[in-house]
């Protein structure tokens, strides 16, 4: 079966590449072994977790970093492309370009970020929240992935005194029949239409009348942001959301919208299948085979490897080494196993920067040789610690777009 481009991996990076290429009229196949890390999405796309300008910090990064490989000028060029891709999906992200702003973590701490969904709590400068006046922090009874006391303690440290309230409705009580399933996504599926209105009424009843702003967990709108807007319309004061522990409702929304867009553009999406081998010939990848399709060769002019790192099994390891799981391409890692980890868990863990070896155009390598039609993007790349840096979503999005551009340039050549 023949395609223009085959994308291995269906997360943020693969989707960014796939949507961009499908928009250019390419016939694309995307193979996704299970759902992606977007299910852990914070509500923000972090470019680089620093004060000030993220792009300004690129020049200080080592040459092995994916941002260094793509280059500062290219990143600046791709910035409006990234924003319009998100806007086209109906995702409303706000920014404070070129300066980072701050997002709130599920425990109420502030972290620097680049783009944040409009409904989320944001801080404008040096991690300080707006002066809101009287704040109501609303929890949902039985929902354990949103800890209001942690959040209120951290709000308190920033000089904000929040009133903690806890609400429920008969619909939510029904959901609690199964305490272990009182999760963000099940709540989001319940809180729509009349159930959402009933919930809003409960919130108003439970909060003091003179509240200036309501803070709620981000458990609204799994398919689109309709329920978020409907909720906000129920109140005459601002309603802001705070990220919850996973699964992330806005992340799933983003994943769904991206997948739909990709399919609407003619892309073929295969979920629950995994690429298991590739046929390399003369410095090119000719075709791949998958778990579900036996001896069917999926051929393409170009391939994108966007399988993520250890968490999503794009990378695997044993006592002898670190491997790329789908195609067995080259991986950058430290030979001495003792150097893979550091004893303090909060240190920059070396294994987090292991990943697929690429040239400066993000072409993957196999047996030391550059594969000219195979690109690696996102968390599978080596040379950066996305968690420590606060850069994983940024690298995923930008490298996906970068690679789509590279491939587009080769068309018609």
């Amino acid at each position: 079966m023949k395609f223009d481009t085959i994308i291995i991996g269906g997360g943020l990076s693969g989707m960014a590449a796939g949507i961009s290429l499908a928009k250019k009229g390419q016939k694309c196949l995307m193979v996704s072994a299970g759902q992606s890390a977007l299910h852990f999405f914070s509500g923000s796309i972090d470019a680089y977790g620093c004060e000030g300008s993220a792009v300004g910090s690129v020049s200080s990064l080592p040459s092995c970093h994916p941002y260094s490989k793509m280059g500062k000028d290219t990143l600046i060029e791709l910035t409006p492309v990234a924003k319009s891709l998100l806007a086209d999906l109906g995702l409303d992200f706000v920014n404070n370009d070129p300066i980072n702003h701050y997002r709130m973590t599920p425990v109420g701490l502030m972290k620097p970020t680049w783009l944040t969904m409009r409904e989320y709590v944001r801080g404008s400068d040096v991690g300080q929240l707006e002066r809101w006046g009287k704040v109501a922090l609303v929890g949902i009874k039985g929902y354990l992935d949103f800890n209001t006391s942690f959040i209120s303690q951290n709000l308190d440290r920033q000089g904000i005194n929040a009133v903690e309230v806890e609400v429920t409705t008969p619909e939510l009580q029904k959901l609690r029949t199964n305490p272990s399933e009182m999760r963000s996504t099940n709540i989001a599926k319940t809180l729509v239409g009349d159930a959402l209105k009933a919930f809003a009424a409960e919130v108003k009843a439970a909060c003091p009348e003179d509240v200036d702003v309501y803070l709620l967990p981000a458990v609204f709108g799994i398919e689109d942001d309709g329920p978020v807007k409907a909720l906000q319309a129920e109140f005459d004061k601002p309603v802001h959301l705070i990220a919850t522990m996973p699964p992330s409702v806005p992340g799933i929304r983003m994943q769904t919208l991206m997948r739909r867009k990709f399919q609407a553009l003619g892309g073929t999406f295969m979920l629950g299948d995994a690429v298991v081998s590739g046929k390399f010939e003369g410095g090119r990848l000719v075709s791949v085979r998958t778990q579900n399709h036996g001896d069917m060769d999926f051929e393409a002019d170009n391939f994108v490897l966007a399988t993520g790192n250890f968490m999503t099994h794009g990378l695997t390891s044993d006592r002898n080494g670190v491997y790329e799981a789908a195609l067995g391409v080259d991986v950058d890692y430290l030979a001495d196993r003792k150097e893979w980890t550091k004893s303090n868990i909060f240190d920059d863990q070396p294994f987090m920067s292991f990943g697929v070896a690429t040239d400066d155009n993000l072409h993957a390598k196999k047996d030391g040789m550059v594969i000219e039609n195979l690109y690696a993007t996102g968390s599978v790349l080596s040379g950066f610690n996305g968690i420590k840096e606060g850069s994983s979503t940024g690298v995923s999005l930008m490298s996906g777009l970068y690679v789509a551009n590279q491939i587009t340039k080769t068309i018609g050549r």
Binding site: M1, A33, G34, Q35, S36, A37, H39, F40, K174, L175, R176, T177, N178, S180, E181, R183, T185, N186, K189, P246, P247, I252, R260, Q263, T268, M270, L271, G272, D273, A274, T290, Q291, N292, H293, G294, M296, M311, T312, H313, D318, R319
Partner: protein
């Protein structure tokens, strides 16, 4: 150095507790009595291994759609863990209803002989009331019609002789539905295969694949039937014939569930159980087989991916074939469970949930204003026809209807 490998059954120790499976469980979204795939699967399994008393009969609400397995980023066989736990630990025994619903072979043999009476009486309100009240079969569910003549009977009378003239041969596992309820589907397959130069043979012995038996706590009987089917498929393979199927559920059951749930060794014949659309697609791609279509076939068709098709990963073959028909305006529906899951939606206690699960799909179908819905699973077909105004056909029937037989024969030099 000894490397210790993870050898846990069904990969259950690979579970990271990320909860992604719970997002995509169609049952959990509508029925809070179901513990959900994570709790029912790998989480519960840890407890059940310690003490079988931890088994929860609420696992019966699992549809076995395997959408949890598709979603799992860690390759945990969540659906298999749940079904195996049901087989191993459940103390519930099948009642009359479970026996009637699950033994499609026996029911089909009786019903086809008395088709006019059975078809009429299944629609009568008093009969429905009795079935609802006494048996617990929902009076809202519409039963598929039985055909007056089984496919096998028709085949032996009208087709068997002619099939021998073709140089190339395949076997066909028709399944219960295409035998008892809708022989047209089987005849359509014969029509297509003949047009591209293949004769179609019945298997030596064919039994119901057993999917309904597994779902209704009769896995020992399912295994007996499975062994018969695999032996027949093996014999066909030895004689040089691949076995084609037209139902995704039968296909999935024989290829995967036999091995994973019933412990039937089918590794040597797995690849010779082929969904007909996949087989035909591969002939086109690899062997230059060509199909010619009628110019007067014009239809807007939406494709629904059955859960077991999603798990097989083969929807692309059925959809690619339909897209080859010039007069087809093709729409892909969002992949979501229709809610029927074989016999599940026929049970009185499941019927409302079954409808609620399918709600999104039904709405999408109605909004698209299509002439036909295409799907490779007969029970999805019943559910969609019962719940929407759209008629539903198997892609094989669509291809057969659109096919220009004479032109196809000419293209492939078949006399």
């Amino acid at each position: 150095m000894t490397v210790i490998k993870n050898i846990s059954e069904n990969n259950f120790e690979q579970c990271l507790k990320c909860s992604v499976c719970t997002v995509y469980c169609p049952v959990l979204a509508v029925n809070p009595a179901y513990p959900g795939p994570k709790q029912a699967g790998p989480d519960g399994e840890r407890y059940r291994l310690k003490d079988p008393q931890f088994y929860d009969e609420a696992l019966k609400y699992c549809l076995n759609c395997k959408r949890c397995e598709l979603a799992c980023p860690s390759g945990v066989k969540i659906g298999d863990i749940i079904q195996l736990a049901r087989i191993k630990y459940s103390k519930q025994r099948p009642g009359l209803r479970e026996i009637m619903l699950a033994n499609t072979d026996i029911m089909g043999s009786i019903a086809t002989r008395m088709a006019p009476i059975v078809n009429t009486s299944l629609k009568l309100t008093p009969v429905k009331k009795v079935m609802d009240g006494v048996l617990g079969i929902s009076s809202h569910a519409k039963f598929p019609q039985y055909a007056g003549e089984r496919f096998e009977t028709w085949y032996k009378k009208n087709a068997a002789q002619e099939q021998k003239q073709y140089a190339k041969q395949v076997s066909y596992f028709h399944g219960c539905y295409a035998n008892y309820n809708y022989p047209k589907l089987s005849k359509d397959l014969v029509k297509i295969m003949n047009a591209i130069g293949y004769g179609v043979q019945l298997l030596d012995k064919e039994k119901c694949c057993g999917v309904a038996l597994i779902a209704n706590m009769q896995s020992a009987q399912a295994k007996k039937q499975g062994l018969v089917n695999i032996a027949s498929i093996r014999k066909a393979k030895a004689e040089g014939r691949v076995t084609l199927t037209t139902s995704t559920t039968c296909t999935f059951t024989m290829r995967d569930e036999y091995e994973h749930l019933l412990g039937i060794d089918n590794h040597d014949v797995k690849e010779s159980i082929q969904l007909a659309t996949k087989f035909i697609y591969e002939l086109i791609e690899r062997q230059g087989v060509r199909l010619a279509f009628r110019s007067d076939y014009k239809k807007r068709i939406a494709y629904h991916t059955p859960c077991h098709m999603e798990k097989l990963g083969w929807a692309i073959y059925s959809t690619s074939l339909m897209r080859m028909i010039p007069g087809v305006d093709f729409v892909m529906l969002d992949s979501q469970c229709c809610g029927i899951s074989g016999t599940y939606g026929f049970k009185k206690e499941n019927y409302p949930y079954s409808q609620k699960i399918g709600e999104g799909l039904f709405k999408q179908i109605e909004s698209l204003k299509v002439d036909l819905v295409a799907t490779d699973c007969e029970t999805c077909k019943w559910q969609i026809e019962m719940s929407t105004t759209a008629p539903v056909e198997n892609p094989i029937s669509i291809i057969a209807d659109a096919l220009d037989v004479e032109a196809t024969k000419a293209l492939n030099s078949i006399k």
